[in-house]
Symmetry: C2
């Protein structure tokens, strides 16, 4: 048994949740009635935490507790329970800027490592919508707005440098989950390691091709250095289609425990990567082919809308600010020549986010196909060979993005490339110049 | 009166130092005898702290106390007294790697904000040697070794990322002194501000030229973003010729209270900048012209030796390590193709340090000539016009480095450029293409 983080810490169960919530007056008031009136559902479907949905006569809440290990793996995979502190800090830091695009936090308990927050209902996880072929046209714009607000307002563009430095000091302690990223994103896919889950024998050659490609691994090293050394803004760190909950009218970003000060392009690339994997998976998923093809067109539209909204909103937010930040110091650009130059510097700043996103996008595709934590978009495909066919296309695009970034100067060129890699199959070598 | 940092805090004077040191058994033992046997000299010649040298029958110590304000300015310039904590942490972090290239710390007192350390005698400040025309040929190599060890061993090249992240978390709190850098290096010289000390009327046009040059200010913004966002290694933050104490046999780096996790090129560029200013100042300093010209040749040799030693030592240290760091992950480069590639990646890494250093070098020259904290190399020149002539040359080189970095691909091209800017004079415009 792992040591408990403190003598008062107790792992919650559906049976003990009501007694715990009773100690939180604000939550009692929100639920209404008494603990005996409350229903509790254990809904943990992520990999690492406990999550309960609680309903009372008046309303509902979501209860998320960090465990001293990764839930899906049990005590064999210890994980710093303090991640709940960073998730709460992440949500608190962004709340003024992202507002209704994240759940409201009602209570944080640093002894039990429990966040009680807004219950999202009837929201579903975006990934399930993508798999089911249900389309929510407001999602790309909402997530773009979320990342744009976060990327701007937690950077040195928005405030004197001391503000970001204080965030850096805090989130640089969130090490346990960054170790997962270091290993699963930046190391494992390019080595032989027990955690990898490459589909044998179909993707064997692809795996070997990635492990032996020194150009590709050099680019991985460059991006890894950016992740751990480019302290640009507060990033979510795990912002994929499983971290977004949606209805037709409402979009929320959840699960910020991987929070880190890193390159703004990381979340952007991660989110696009999961659209791209959904696109490749769609071809082999069950269901009507015409409908699946039509849904692919919607995914393409979503990717384009996501990036163009991010770009536009980031620039708008920046233009509306009065140069309060230490970056692009206001007094240096307040004459007409400076104002004109500042506009082109803004464009260059967003181009730089795109360039970073393009690289991280590729790494995120690769880690979900070769590495440990795989995704349902592919798992719902019947048959290993069909799964591998879909995955091979995504791997080929990812490799091309890493080796030939100049071919992908904008989001349109990435979208246009999707079908080019669809039928590459299981031999990675004949057209290495893809 | 500013609030004292705690009720026990007392500002030391030469009279009270012995009674204070008596409370530190290790120091008493080192001094020998009793407090009545000890002599105390107040030697503070920096700008911000109290410094005392204490001698006893057996040995001597140096006592450095942080004040809640900048000493040179008095209580009108409050300064976070916790800077002593970061200076001590900086010295402790580097001690295993730089050894005898820094003073040994005997005692740190977090209540009185006092560091008691090795007394350096008969060392003199390098700046005084440069002004006097005394040459210490071992200095460039020793400082290069110091920066190479620090830059490698505190980066992600040397250890799993958690190590640097822990340093980042600590040194990101060292805000008060970074604010000085933000203002005096990255803001003031390009605006009109009371603290600037441009020599009027001779350098008036140069000051205006810098304030109105949008290309130059764009480059300043880029370097500012690097300083506050490129978390590459632990840097000294103020490593100039006033922070190095020398004898013919011994070189020590002192005064690490500006410690920060930033671009490795910052300390490199800062140190070169002060050689370059010494070079330009030498032409107008008092003394025999032949000797001064001969000393300039020695400075050129020192600059070349400093950079080539840094480059060589950094690469050697890296090659000798077994890929223990998270950057350039060892398992990705352990086959023959990877090993070969890793060598070129190492060269590229050091080239990147040079590129950053070239930019910071220029900013350091500019801030010492236009900004608040000026240097004795120029002050010893008789007459404002002669001072300004020497400064104009340095400003012209700095501008060229910022606007035309491609003309300076290596240290030889920087050294070769020194005489080209010597006689530019007080009109910055005729040859803006300098």
């Amino acid at each position: 048994m792992l040591d408990a983080p403190n003598s008062q810490y107790r792992i919650l169960s559906a049976a003990t949740v009501p007694a715990y919530l009773q100690t939180l007056p604000a939550v009692v008031d929100r639920l209404g009635g008494a603990p005996s009136d409350w229903t509790v559902r254990d809904v943990a479907d992520g990999n690492i935490n406990s999550v309960f949905l609680v309903d009372g006569p008046k309303g509902g809440v979501c209860v998320k507790q960090a465990l001293p290990y990764a839930r899906i793996h049990g005590e064999g995979w210890p994980l710093d329970i303090n991640r709940a502190i960073y998730e709460d800090a992440y949500m608190a830091r962004l709340a003024p800027h992202v507002g209704q695009l994240a759940p409201e936090v009602y209570s944080f308990d640093a002894e039990q490592f429990v966040i009680v927050m807004e219950k999202l209902e009837p929201h579903i996880i975006l990934r399930r919508a993508l798999i089911a072929g249900n389309h929510y046209p407001a999602v790309p714009g909402a997530v773009a707005e979320y990342i744009a607000q976060a990327s701007f307002h937690t950077s040195d563009l928005a405030a004197p440098f001391e503000r970001k430095a204080t965030d850096v000091s805090l989130f640089s302690k969130n090490l346990s989950l960054q170790r997962i990223s270091a290993d699963l994103i930046f190391s494992d896919p390019y080595t032989v390691v027990w955690r990898n889950k490459l589909i044998e024998p179909y993707l064997t050659a692809w795996g070997a091709a990635f492990r032996s490609d020194v150009d590709l691994k050099s680019e991985v090293a460059r991006l890894r250095a950016l992740y751990f050394g480019k302290a640009q803004s507060l990033i979510h760190g795990d912002l994929h289609s499983g971290s977004v909950m949606v209805t037709a009218e409402d979009t929320r970003v959840i699960d910020g425990e991987f929070a880190w000060i890193g390159p703004s392009g990381f979340d952007v690339g991660n989110f696009i990567a999961h659209y791209i994997m959904a696109w490749y998976a769609k071809d082999e998923q069950p269901g009507d082919e015409t409908e699946r093809e039509a849904y692919r067109r919607l995914i393409e539209t979503d990717i384009a809308a996501f990036w163009s909204t991010f770009r536009q909103r980031f620039l708008e937010i920046w233009r509306a600010e009065a140069g309060a930040g230490d970056a692009y110091f206001g007094d240096h650009f307040n004459d007409p020549a400076g104002a004109s130059r500042l506009e082109s510097l803004r464009q260059a700043y967003v181009d730089d986010i795109f360039a970073d996103a393009r690289g991280f996008l590729a790494l995120k595709v690769i880690r979900r196909i070769i590495g440990y934590a795989q995704i349902a978009d592919f798992h719902v495909i019947e048959g290993a060979e069909a799964q591998a066919r879909a995955k091979a296309g995504a791997l080929a695009l990812a490799r091309s993005l890493l080796l030939h970034p100049d071919r992908y100067p904008d989001i349109a060129s990435v979208i246009a490339a999707l079908p080019r890699f669809e039928a590459v199959g299981f031999d990675p070598h004949p057209s290495r110049n893809w």
